[in-house]
Symmetry: C4
Subunit: 266 residues, 4 copies
């Protein structure tokens, strides 16, 4: 069981070069939120904008909300119309209706790394998407909390959270980021990490959306799914601690603090 | 007549533990504001987000405004669709039409602690809801200013504000938070508190909405109605004083300052 | 020709007392902006919120914009529906169509102090409202820049700005605040003030809206029209200078800086 | 090949005088963005508001978004209705449909300096507008990145970026601002500048919109197209560096930082 250090995160973090341009840095696609739950979209985009990608595209029913809050984002209504990206984040606030399932299917049909969270996990469990998932070659990262884990794995993680995460990772052929006070990252090949920066102040609505967005940005910038998940959990925890130094912690506070804790890119 | 001290508020304030998660911290439901008066909703949610609850749900006609300002909130149009919460705040900016009365009735029909303010107090006086109120087992906190008090009690509080608040608390079987330069909290069982942090800068539109939201968050986090009311009044006063040090005081300034004066949760 | 000092402004500025409540502090009504020009409404409300009144009501076509930016405001579509206020601000961004004229007529028909600016001045010149203006008993403050002055007075102010302002004040039976590098305030009874805090950085779109809002708040708080105009010009100039210390100056910057330069109310 | 210094920028920067008023400082027109891409409009207006012009007018499909973010702006739907300006910025986020082409034609038909960027460059290449461009007497500044340059010039700039930019400037009879790590400014008369403040952190979506807006403000304030382009590139680079000192850099961060690096106007 490995424990990442700050120096790991700094080493992995993509650096800018003179020839960098926005596309070469990576473009992250965010397919979260909906007309009913626009906040999830705004928050996951906030997380993505703190990451190393050069551009954020949003696809979904919360485009108006996203554009009002984040004018640098290019937004469309559907994943199919979003244009080229290097990784997708899909799930939180998406809903679980047929339209949501279509978006998730479109994301899974790409050959790009994807982060799946919240409603996407519910759709995986309910629907016929498990097949599509297992046939997939490109990397997947799932980010369940305990109840979502139970739905995916058929039971709570229990006391051996590392073992439970490793088993789910192997079964799903996906990197599993199991959220908790001590978040666990497990890979299909059997490696596991324990995040040392956890803090209970992250136990507040919407913080997981920020984490998923950051994770997607790291994938778009070509980090491996394992490193992206470990780095995102590490920095998310730091951001929660920093936010708590400033006052009561809401999800937008975590997104703001995240900007103050990520490594420099120059 | 008791006077709370800072050490009381700190002692009562819920602390986070390693196992905390957003639902275990408590979810507060906010049923305030309307399409006509969306600001009341935005402000009461601001107050709630400064409190110890792990999540805020909003139900009402100002959902769009709330989501734009507070992306971590889950919003619905009606209380009946809001999902599970541990306490409700109902009243300010709700209006007094039949739709508003329906929302208030739905809130009162729960077995949860509720905070009633402004238009909810008017509806109680006008309507046939007094019966429903007195039959209720779960705690109620009402937060009238002097004119609202007069409508509830049949007369102004007069010079003996403590006695007047105690009589109303007994008659309504509710905790009464009588707003003023020296806010009084009175319980149905005959205890009374005088808040020592009052300041006239809170005499500006919308500050009561912030107070009600904070109070609801404290109830959702399982403080007793008495302690929740005393703590909310105390911190609201501190926030007003802090805001006044920074410039002219509007209600959003009080909500901002509130975040700087609440006790730490870790 | 008098020149106000900081000590005058401090002396005139309303102070809060223990018994203050939002209505006793005064309520200012803002009838500016429109669906086409919502920014003027947002800016004049910003100015009003920096002043001593206890509450701001807005009436007009920009209600949605105002409520999004300023949640403590109570907004309606028309002046006739706005509820009780102690002073009105009318004009900038109102437009000059029949609907605008109706709003202006409704404001003038009250027996309250009013501030008239921009489009309201155009409507006065074009329409049949000059009569209504001169029959009016309650105080009026007009805040023209040079071109608006020329339309009202039939000619540019010329080199003798004090004389020109005094003649217009006498003819209109209104306090005239003639904007410029050295703003002049002239009263119908023949007194004149020169504002010492002028700065050319205020020569940017929308700053006049902020000034008008502050002026209205001072009137609602029962300052005399003369003192309200002198104090508003003085503080507006200070705010411009303060904003310029922080960077390039836009109208929202002036509104923000205004909050840092107004006297304390406690 | 000249390299500008800070003292050049300061010397060129317009200074305010006692008699300055918003129109005499210059009014810049912004015709960028659309209902689909409102962010480009918000960002280019942000850039314009950091510049020396006294007023910003916006014309386009993102008027609602612009007014919400920038209340001092006067907005219309079409360039033809925008009222008087002294320079236009046209292009980014405009789209490339017939409506967009109409707006570009209207801008080009004026005798005012114009900045053309992004979609406007695509429209120039695709359409029949090359003629209109070459017949034009008033100054034009184009701000391509390498791919846009290739479309305009028929090939990538290659290693001799200065030579390539000079050839395009001569052929288009326009000032060419060729974006890159070391931005090149080339004039039709054969002068070239290399910007010394470049930084790869500007390789993020939307920063070009901010640059174009600032450039337009400088043109409206009567700088020559050459100086306006050199100064805008210089300050844009400084802003990127300043933003990077504060955290990860998004386009709104550059716009914010720009306000902290522009020379004082008094």
């Amino acid at each position: 069981l490995a424990v990442p250090e700050w120096s790991d995160i700094v080493e992995w973090w993509p650096r800018l070069e003179a020839a960098s341009e926005k596309y070469s840095r990576g473009v992250v696609g965010i397919a979260t939120g909906s007309a009913t739950y626009p906040g999830a979209a705004v928050l996951s985009v906030s997380g993505a904008l703190a990451g190393p990608a050069g551009m954020v595209r949003y696809a979904g029913g919360a485009a108006g909300h996203v554009l009002r809050e984040h004018p640098s984002v290019i937004a469309t209504k559907r994943v199919a119309d979003a244009g080229r990206v290097q990784a997708w984040v899909c799930g939180s606030g998406l809903g679980t209706d047929e339209a949501a399932a279509t978006e998730l299917r479109t994301v899974l049909a790409t050959s790009l790394p994807v982060v799946l969270d919240a409603d996407a996990l519910t759709l995986l469990v309910n629907g016929s998407m498990a097949d599509q998932l297992r046939r997939r070659d490109a990397p997947i990262v799932v980010t369940p909390h305990d109840r979502e884990f139970a739905r995916l794995a058929g039971g709570e993680p229990g006391d051996d959270r590392v073992g439970a995460a490793l088993r789910l990772a192997s079964w799903m052929n996906a990197v599993v980021l199991l959220k908790g006070d001590r978040t666990i990252i497990a890979t299909p090949s059997g490696r596991a990490w324990a995040n040392p920066t956890g803090t209970p102040v992250l136990a507040t609505g919407g913080t997981g959306d920020v984490l998923a967005g950051l994770l997607g940005s790291l994938l778009a910038a070509r980090l491996s799914p394992e490193r992206a998940a470990v780095a995102a959990a590490y920095l998310h925890g730091l951001a929660g601690r920093e936010a708590a130094r400033r006052g009561p912690v809401t999800a937008p506070d975590v997104a703001t603090a995240l900007r103050d804790v990520v490594p420099a890119s120059v």
